[in-house]
Each structure stands twice: as C-alpha cells, then as structure tokens.
C-alpha cells in the first residue's frame, strides 16, 4: 500500500516535471518562432496551441490542488491550514518577483521594439528606393526610346497594304532568300538580339500575340495586361519594371507601331529588357530591405502583442509551475507535521497505539521518533491502567458489598454488580447519570439517595449510616459507609459509598438478642414462680381453716392474689417464651379479609359497646402468610387499639384493607386506626421496641411481636398518629406466591 502510494507520487512528480520541461521547451521554440525564425516559424501556431494546452494542464492541476486544499480546510483536516500558509508564502516569494520582472520586461520589450524603428532609417530607405527608381528610370527611358525607334523603323516602310516594313526585319547576314513577306520567328530573333531584349513580341491591338521571340524557356509569351492595352489605345507607350520570379527585375516596354492601320488593325511591339546583374542585385537589395523594414514597421504593434503574449505565457506558465511547486513543496514539508497532528488527534481520541513513519533524519524525524516513543509509553501505561481497571472491576464485581462511586457533581462513576443487585436496578443504566436519577421510577430508593446526599453534603470525611428502603421484597436495611475522595489538597473529587444489605443480619442479631433476653427472663422468672405459687397454696391450705374468720378472709384474699399474680407472671413468661422461640412459619395462601373479619367478630362479641368500622377491599388478592401468627398480629393490634381508648368512652376502631402497585412491587395494605390518645412524641421512634409501652399494665411485647411477625413475612409495619385523634397502624405485605415465600425462607435460613 505504502509502496504503491510512493510509486503514484513519483509518477505524478515525474509527469509534472516532464510537462514543465515540455512547456519550457515549447516556450523557447515559441520565442524563436515569433522572431521570424525560418526553422520554427511554421510551427508558431502549433507551439502557441501547445503552450496554451500546457498552461491549461497546469491550471487544471492547480484547480485540483486548490479544490483538495479547500476540502481539507472545510473538513478541518490536520495540516491543511499549515499547507495553506506555506503555499501562500511560497507563491508570494515566487510570484511577486516574477510580476516585477514581467513589468520591467514589458517596458524593455516596448522600448526595444520601438528602438528598431528610426525615422532616419525610414527616410534613408525611402531615399534609397527613390534613388533606385530614378536610376532605373534612366535606363527604362533608354529602353523605351530604343523600342519606339524599333517600332518607327517597322512602321516607316509600311505601304501598299503591307503592315510592316519587312525589310527592317531582314537579317542582313541571312543567306535565306524568301519571297514570303510575312514576319517570321527568325526575323524577330534577329531584331531581339539586335536590340538586346530577352523577349520581343509583335501583337495585335487586342493583345493577341502575332509573333514572338524569346531567349528563355518560356513557350508562351506574356500577354499584355488590359491596362497596358488601354494605355496603348490612348496613344501612350507603356514602360514598367516587372519582377520575374527568381530572375529579378526586367523592363517591359509596349509601343504602338506607327502607320500600321486604324485602331483595330494597330500592331504593337512588346519587349522585355533585362537589367544588368549588378543593377538587379542592388535594386533587389534595396527593395528587399525596404519591404522588410516596411513590413516590420507595419507589424510593429502586432510584434509587440506577440512578444507580450509570449512573455505573458511565460509568466503564466512560470506562475502555474511555481504555484504547483508551492503546493508540492508545502505538502511535502507539511506532511510530517500533518501526520504528527493527525497522530496527536488520534492519541487524544484514545488510539494510543498510533505510530508514525520516520521519513527523515532531520529535526522533524527526531520529533516523529519522540512522538512514537511517547505514544508507546502512553500505550503501555494505558494498558497497565486498563489491566488495573479490569482487576478492580473484577474485584468489585466479586464483592458482596455494593460499591457506589460519585464524582464531585454526584454523578455515578462506578456501581458494581452487587450494588445493582442490592438496589434492584436490573439492567437500567446508572453509570454516568446523576445519583438523583436512581429515584426515577424507583420511589423506594428515595431514602437511599437522600441519605447519601445528606451525608455527602456534610463535612465528615467518613460516615456510616443505616438506611432502610422498602422494595418488592419488603423492608431492607442497608449499611452505608461513605468516604470522601480528595485528590490533592482539599479538592472534592467525589465520594465512594460501600453499602451492604444487612436486613437479614440485623434481623437475626436483634431476634437473637431479644430471644436471649426473653429466654433468660423466662428462665429466671419461671423457676421461682412455681414454688411461690405452691407456697401460697400451701399457706392457704394449712392456715385458712385455723385462723379467725377475719384473718382467714385476709389470708384467702392475699394468697389468691399471689396465686393469681403468679399465673399472670406465668402467662407473661410464656409470652416471653413465645417471642424468644425461633419462628416456624407455615405459609399458606390466606384471604386477609376473611382472617381479619374472623378476628374482628370475636372482639365485637366481647366488646359490644365498641364501634368497628370495617372497610375491606373487594377482590383483595390472597397473601402467602402464616394464618395463626397473623391472627396474633391482629389480636395484638385490636387489643392495643381498644386499650388506647380512655376508660368509659366507647372505642371506635376503623379497619380497612387495599392492594396497591408501586415501583417496588404489588402489596396488600391493612390499616387499623383508633380514636385513642395517640403516640407520645418521645415514643414515636421506639413503639415497636420490646418493653416500650405507655400502659400501666402489659408486657410491652405486643407491638414488638407484631413487628417481628410482619417482618418475618417480609412486610413492614408502622404506627403513626392520625391527623385528628388516635393513631393508625399500617401493615404492608408484599404479594408473593407461596413458592416465592418458601424460597425466600430457605434463602433467609441459609444466610
């Protein structure tokens, strides 16, 4: 791939170099052609077109380069602006001197061409031409006189119907005797030779050649022109210089032969006289010089235009080549820097394995080498960090504790699998979102989020707090330990919170503690109760009959009280024993409404004065619970409600059930409200603790047992004051199938 790119670049460069060379050669030839070079003159148009095409090729190349650069600039490609700057600098450095040179060259050109033409030379040439004409005029007049004399000689003897004095035509040296009185070629030859003419013809007035004699190879004599004939018809002789191809100048004379009849029968003598070789040469030189100078003078402006055009072509070609060279050089120079910029961008985008080819041994090469070393080190460091991250992530995923890391803006940066599981997030995204976003569609996480935010705002670098949430599995207790992260001096870099679901642990610990207390109490109290009861009964049995009636009555009353109280204490001890006993729950699908109605009916019977307002939801789903234990729950709550009313006033108890669905799951709720004294403010947080009661009688275990049983079923119970009078107990039980309950129970026991 790289070698093909290099080959392509080499081919392009070679092509452009050849094109430049061709253009240069063509320009040189054009310059030669425009100076009327014999060799290249015929190629002028071809060279001009070739140069224009070459220039056009370079312009196309330039347009392609400019278009490519504009595209790179629009795409904000690395190195494009640098290339643009370098191109502008190169062009300015090359084009400005060229333009200056062009301006001066144009000026010199105009002056140079003008200097060729001088009025004195012009005048001298005109004078030379005039001199030549005058000189020739003398000779021409001589030829005219000679020809007119010949014509006179021919016409003088014409008589008696003869049109010519044929005697004059006779060659005196001829031995041929002819009786034919017609002019013959040999006669004309004689006269032509005698007169020293090159051509001698006898013609009619209409220009028809009657006889001719010539010393050349021309078979056909030159016919007189119409203008010549017209001049002769007007009685004037004709004489003129006639250039004859390569043979030079001749003098043509045409005169009428006098006395040869009327105008239609008029004969004319046509003679062509040569000039001497010397005169021909001189005249030709003068004429040639004059013509050339005159032609050049006429072409002066066109010559200037042509020179300007050639110079402009040279300038444009030079500019085009220089501009292309500027593009080429700029790209070549900027290529390593462009590659460096692209490499830097790649590194910035996270491609740390970027390496650049080192193409030179100069400073740029050193820079590229340093860049490669740097990216190599970054890649190694990044790999190490990635490895450590993977290690940490593996550790975090294997941790049973939830780990939540926040940045200084309370955005979640890390949340391990256990954390997601504890918070019941499922597959919902969390990392990268604000902590508060956890509560969206998850109302049960509100205490968790608020608890963390409250303590995060606090200044304690480390904190620990127990947070309760209530999800579809019921109440969960989360032990959260937070640590503020500070990188550098007093810079808030975030927070890391480690949290555990200690619901089972806390419950187990509490149950175990209270069970131990209850067990000890039962053990310590129950043991002496039987001897006390037996002793009291024995005292009564032994002394009641022996005592006076008044004393006997007192003894009977006292021993009865002792026995009665001992029974009460036994009952209390049994209650303690019940609380301390490990729960054995027999789950079954129970209709809460039915169970509640049965319990309420018992109390209605026993307390006819009490008002029970029962509002049970229709179609309440069955709940998987232990019916006997929940009967105890309802007993304890109704009993508490009845006892909460002041004596003498009729009790009023409102009982209602409903089911509801929220983000944590599907629940059944039981509300039991009384119109009693309500909860004292100092007891609000501890009404469900054992031995906490505001009644003068009672064990203080009623509500504790309620809470214990409800929590054993995964539910939650709360007690709050009504807005008016009295308090309301609220039980929320998750709707779980029997199988789920049993599985939860197995999990709970296992944990």
């Amino acid at each position: 791939m790289a070698s093909s790119a290099v080959s392509k670049k080499l081919a392009t460069t070679t092509g452009v170099a050849l094109l430049s060379l061709s253009l240069l050669t063509s320009l040189v030839l054009l310059s030669a052609a425009i100076q009327n070079s014999e060799r290249f003159g015929i190629l002028f148009s071809f060279l001009l077109v070739t140069n224009c095409l070459g220039l056009l090729s370079f312009l196309i190349l330039l347009i392609i380069n400019i278009n490519r650069l504009v595209g790179q600039l629009r795409r904000r490609q690395p190195g494009a602006r640098l290339t643009l700057r370098m191109v502008i600098i190169f062009i300015a450095l090359s084009v400005l001197p060229m333009l200056v040179l062009y301006g001066f060259s144009l000026d010199f050109l105009n002056r140079g061409v003008d200097s060729w033409f001088d009025a004195r030379i012009d005048l001298a040439l005109k004078d030379a031409l005039e001199l030549s004409k005058n000189s020739l005029d003398l000779r021409m007049r001589g030829f005219l006189a000679q020809t007119e004399e010949l014509a006179d000689e021919l016409g003088r003897g014409a008589a008696g119907g003869a049109v010519l004095n044929l005697n004059a035509l006779r060659n005196p040296n001829s031995t041929v005797v002819s009786n034919n009185w017609e002019a013959t070629t040999s006669d004309l030859d004689y006269l032509r030779q005698r007169e020293g003419a090159d051509e001698l013809s006898l013609a009619s007035a209409q220009g028809r050649i009657l006889e001719t004699s010539s010393n050349g190879t021309e078979l056909v004599p030159t016919q007189p022109a119409a203008a010549t004939l017209l001049q002769l018809r007007q009685g004037h002789s004709y004489i003129g210089l006639e250039p004859q191809g390569t043979e030079g100048l001749f003098v043509r004379v045409a005169v009428n032969v006098p006395g040869t009849g009327n105008s239609s029968e008029q004969k004319i003598v046509l003679a062509l006289f040569p000039l001497s070789a010397r005169i021909k040469s001189l005249a030709s030189n003068v004429e040639h010089a004059y013509e050339k100078y005159h032609e050049l003078d006429y072409l002066r402006e066109r010559l200037k235009i042509s020179f300007r055009m050639t110079l402009t072509l040279v300038l444009l070609s030079s500019i085009a080549v220089a501009t292309w060279a500027a593009f080429f050089s700029a790209r070549r120079l900027a290529a390593p820097i462009t590659a460096l910029a692209a490499g830097t961008l790649a590194v910035a985008e996270g491609n740390y394995t970027t390496t650049l080819p080192v193409t030179s041994n100069d400073e740029i090469g050193l820079l590229v080498s340093s860049f490669n070393a740097m990216t190599n080190r970054i890649a190694n460091a990044h790999a190490e960090i990635e490895s450590q991250n993977r290690y940490v992530n593996t550790l975090l995923s294997e941790l049973s504790s939830g780990v939540l890391a926040l940045d200084h803006n309370s955005v979640i940066t890390t949340l391990n699998d256990s954390g997601r599981q504890i918070l019941d997030l499922g597959d919902s995204p969390a990392v990268g979102l604000p902590l508060s976003s956890l509560t969206e569609h998850r109302e049960h996480l509100k205490p968790f989020v608020e608890g963390i935010q409250t303590r995060r705002i606090g200044e304690a670098p480390r904190w620990q707090h127990e947070i309760q949430i209530f999800n579809r599995e019921g109440r969960r207790i989360l032990m959260c330990r937070g640590t503020a992260l500070k990188f550098g001096e007093n810079i808030d870099s975030g927070h890391v919170i480690v949290f555990d679901d200690i619901t089972a642990l806390a419950k187990g610990q509490r149950d175990a503690a209270w069970s131990e207390v209850a067990r000890r109490l039962a053990h310590e109290i129950k043991n002496p109760l039987t001897p006390i009861q037996l002793s009291a009964e024995r005292l009564r049995q032994k002394y009641l009959s022996k005592m006076a009636p008044a004393d006997a009555e007192t003894l009977d009353r006292l021993t009865s009280t002792i026995v009665q109280q001992v029974e009460t204490m036994k009952s209390m001890v049994n209650t303690f024993a019940d609380y301390a006993r490990p729960p054995v729950i027999n789950y079954e699908q129970i209709d809460i409404n039915g169970l509640l109605s049965a319990v309420v009916d018992l109390y209605k019977t026993a307390n006819p004065e009490a008002q029970f307002r029962v509002d049970l939801a229709a179609f309440l789903p069955a709940v998987s619970i232990d019916a006997s234990r929940f009967r105890q729950v309802f007993n304890n709550l109704i009993k508490n409600a009845l006892e909460a009313h002041p004596s003498g006033s009729p009790a009023s108890i409102a009982i209602s059930t409903r089911d509801f669905l929220d983000s944590a799951g599907h629940y059944v709720e039981i509300r039991l409200a009384d119109a009693g004294a309500g909860i004292k403010s100092d007891m609000e947080g501890s009404v469900f603790e054992p031995y906490v009661t505001n009644k003068t009688r009672g064990t203080g275990l009623g509500l504790a047992i309620v809470k214990k049983i409800v929590e054993e079923h995964g539910g939650i119970v709360s007690l709050q004051n009504n807005e008016g009078v009295g308090a309301c107990a609220i039980i929320q039980l998750p709707l779980q199938t029997l199988a789920q309950r049993q599985q939860n129970e197995i999990d709970r026991k296992a944990s």
């Binding site: 052609a33 001009l48 031409l129 191809g245 072409l299 066109r302 042509s306």
Partner: protein
Amino acid sequence: MSPRSVAYILCYLLALAISPSDARDALGVQISGKVANGLYYVTAALPIVLSPEVEEAVKNGVPLQFVFDFRINRSRRYLWDEELLSVRRSCTLERHALANKYVVTDLITHRSTVAGSIAEALEMLGHLTEIPLGKAQRLITVPPLIGTARGQLNIEALPAPLRPIAYLTPSWHLKSPRLKWQVLP
C-alpha cells in the same frame, strides 16, 4: 482489360470531353471542367475580395498566400463521399515596392504575373486556368459526381506576429464557401 472495356472507357472520356460541365452563380463564380489528354482540368474564375485590414497588410508589404482546393467526390447514400480527384493550388500575392506593382505567383509552376493594382492582381489571382485535377479515368464510376472548389487565405503563411491576430480577427478569415459543380458524364 478487355477490348470492350477499353471501348467503354474511351466512349466515356469522349463524352466527358465534349460536354464539359459548367457552373456560374450570381456572384460571378464560374467553374468548368474538361478532359484533355486523359486528364481532367478545371478552369475557375473566383472573385476575390480583400477586407480593408488584409488590403492594408498587402500594401504594407505583407505577402499573402491563397490556397485553392479542388475536389471531385462521388456521392454515396450511406457512407461519406468518396474522393476521386483532388488538388491544392497555392498562390501568393505580394507588393513590389520598387516596381510599385503587385505580383501574383503560382507556387506550383512558380510563374509570376504582375499587376499594376490590387484589383487587377485579385482578378489574376481568381483566374485559375486549366488546373489539372488528375487522371480522368478515375471519374469512370457511378454518378453523381460532385466537384467542389474552395479558396481561402492561408493564415499559417502569414508572418508569425500576425497569425494570432489573424486567427482571432474575423476580417482575416477570408474563406469562400465550398462551391460545387456537377460533373456530368
């Protein structure tokens, strides 16, 4: 070649010789052809008119070269015309300052004729007499045969500095339309 073919050719040549085609248009263009000595000759009289710019150039000593192109083609319906005979004649017209005359020179025969004025020179230039186009035997083919003639100023023969301007200036584009005459058997 059979005697019958020879006789046919001779009859055809004779027919060509005795019935020369002739064309003359409203501008005075006259073209005629004839067969003599086995050759086909064209005689044409083409009126040549110079634009003022060209005339000024001649008067200032710039030689002009005119090219006359004569062709005889056989028309074909589905293919381009077949060229049977063709000839190019070039003549120059230049001023002779010393003689104060204009010289017309045929560049093939190198014969010069001298005229006292440009008009006379142009008339001489336009009179092309008995230009041999080639062997008349080539014309023995299926008619129609179309003769075409065109005369034009050869810009390439102008002095180099004048050529770009001549190419770019319409007044220098002296070119006659392609004149046609029908060569009849």
